[in-house]
Amino acid sequence: MTRCRIVFSGSGGQGVITAAIILAEAAVLYDNLIAVQTQAYGAAARGGSTRSDVIIADTKINYPKVTQPNILVCLTQESYSKFYSIIRPGGLLITDSRYVQTQKRVDARQKEIPIYETVMEKIGKPIVFNICMLGTLLGITGLVTPFSIQKVLENRIPPEFLELNQKALKIGLAMGKKYSD
């Protein structure tokens, strides 16, 4: 595969960092790929805008940060305004249609997707917003296999919440397929 650089952004508590870790861990442990994950620490991770970078590749990754993402996910207006300009030309920009009003046209495939609304409508619990987002991303890109994500969820999520997360993943995958060109 070609090197894929992803930036997840949103606000603290939305679970964007967890989603980034799950994606990278799935790539490394079950898809035999190389991945690194970093994140913004500190006050930003406690309510302000938060960001996590993931690089997935099949060759060694030295510099671990993302300067120009192929994929940028923005789950709040603030994170969108802060990061939309860094997207790599021709990249993929995913925003949540409830939280983000896109303002500028960038040289990227822009997808405004009602992830939050769908989660609330079909599951009713905002806690799995991040996993549904991850499913949506995978539905569009096929970055890692859904099987690998399932495995990571099984290892990371407490049993009582596993089904909920699996459901959110499935809904996201289906929605992502709908939005893939």
Binding site: I21, A24, E25, V28, L29, I34, A35, V36, Q37, T38, Q39, A40, Y41, G42, I61, N62, Y63, P64, K65, T67
Partner: protein, 382 residues
């Protein structure tokens, strides 16, 4: 059986290395960005019958691990800059009394409270001269998780071999970054266990009388040999003395046992150095960006290489000098104001060929930063 392939933070890789090396005891105090080490060990150590304690501050943490080490345990504490500052006096005590102990400093921006959650490599010289008085010290570092694991195991081995504290100097980027770690099978990496005295009960044991090979066998507190340990200048019984000859001999011993073994203690990695006429020297997270640049410019047929240092102190001057003999210029890549650059200048034949590519703003130095310096050196403009 536990999964031996993990996707973890660098701090956890350090924990895995410490446990592999036989860690028994941890004392520490919460501080960003090292806290994960304490958190994970609070769960893992009691699972193997080891002990974890959160002390009232970093001073107490360093003291507690020294006490535990004297009973024969392998010990660790972990902190960041402000806590490392507090540990300096007791670090000196561990040096003076020759107590094996490992201190992890996951560096953050300084001075003072600095930028707790951002990266820096500003403590390099503090690890060298932070505690008062003439002394030698061992400081090691790494840039990726497999290497963090290995140098951590190595640090425990070296601490036992030379009866000395060893500082593991990591940084926020490698400490918090997640990547793959494969934990080697037990027994694959040799471990150095404590050298205990063969002197029998009833025979006079001299805790500070070196053997012919320079090593000092220890006796666990609580064992058959009762002896004195003091931070005062001491004789072979460990009893305070101000006899000039004894004081001189002690200080020489403390420094020589490390400085005379600088090449044995030196750990480093080299990339594309064989024909390189441009050499980057780096360590820790900075070395990742440096290697990125090297591999990139090699594709453009530039003769560039990287010397990645893993032992910072004692500084491997002879090795650096030899590796840099053919270099037209040398660029030290680090996230401070040139702390290792000075040592490189002192080591090489042409100090005027040594340049610095650095960042001190809490942001990880990136490949473009380094490339810009290379262009400036070559008069190409940025």
């Amino acid at each position: 059986m536990e999964n031996k392939i993990k996707f973890v933070q660098g701090n956890e890789a350090c924990v895995e290395g410490a446990l592999y090396a036989g860690l028994d005891f941890f004392a520490g105090y919460p501080i960003t960005p090292s806290t994960e080490i304490a958190e994970i060990l609070s769960a893992r150590l009691p699972q193997k019958g080891g002990k974890f304690i959160q002390m009232e501050d970093e001073i107490a943490s360093m003291c507690a691990i020294i006490g535990a080490s004297l009973t024969g345990k392998k010990v660790l504490t972990a902190t960041s800059g402000p806590g490392f500052s507090l540990m300096q006096e007791s670090l000196g005590y561990a040096i003076m009394t020759e107590i094996p102990s490992i201190i992890v400093n996951v560096q953050r921006g300084g001075p003072s409270t600095g930028i707790p959650t951002h990266v820096s490599q500003g403590d390099v010289n503090q690890t060298r001269w932070g505690t008062h008085g003439d002394h030698a010290i061992i400081t090691m570092t790494a840039s990726n998780h497999p290497d963090i694991f290995l140098v951590t195991v190595d640090a425990f081995n070296i601490a036992e071999t030379y009866r000395t504290p060893v500082v593991l100097l990591f940084d926020e980027v490698v400490g918090h970054m997640r990547e793959k770690l494969i934990i080697p099978e037990p027994g694959k990496i040799p471990l150095v266990e404590r050298l205990r005295t063969s002197v029998r009960d009833g025979t006079d044991y001299h805790p500070y009388l070196a053997r012919e090979d320079g090593r000092l066998p220890m006796s666990d507190f609580g064992g058959v040999h009762r002896y004195n340990v003091t931070g005062l200048a001491h004789d072979m019984w460990g009893f305070p003395t101000d006899t000039p000859k004894v004081a001189h001999g002690l200080l020489r011993h403390l420094v020589d046992k490390i400085e005379n073994n600088v090449n044995k203690i030196a750990r480093y990695k080299e990339f594309y150095l064989e024909d390189a006429d441009q050499i980057l020297i780096s360590y820790g997270a900075s070395a990742r960006s440096a290697l990125h640049v090297v591999e990139n410019l090699r594709k453009k047929n530039q003769k560039i290489g990287l010397l990645e240092l893993q032992t910072l102190w004692p500084f491997p001057s002879a090795i650096v000098r030899e590796k840099c003999l053919k270099a037209k210029y040398i660029v030290v890549v680090e996230m401070n104001m040139g702390q290792i650059r000075t040592s490189v200048q002192n080591a090489v034949e042409h100090p005027e060929r040594v340049f610095l590519a650095n960042r001190i703003d809490g942001v990880m130095i990136n490949p473009t930063d380094i490339k810009n310096i290379l262009r400036l050196i070559k008069g190409q403009g940025v």
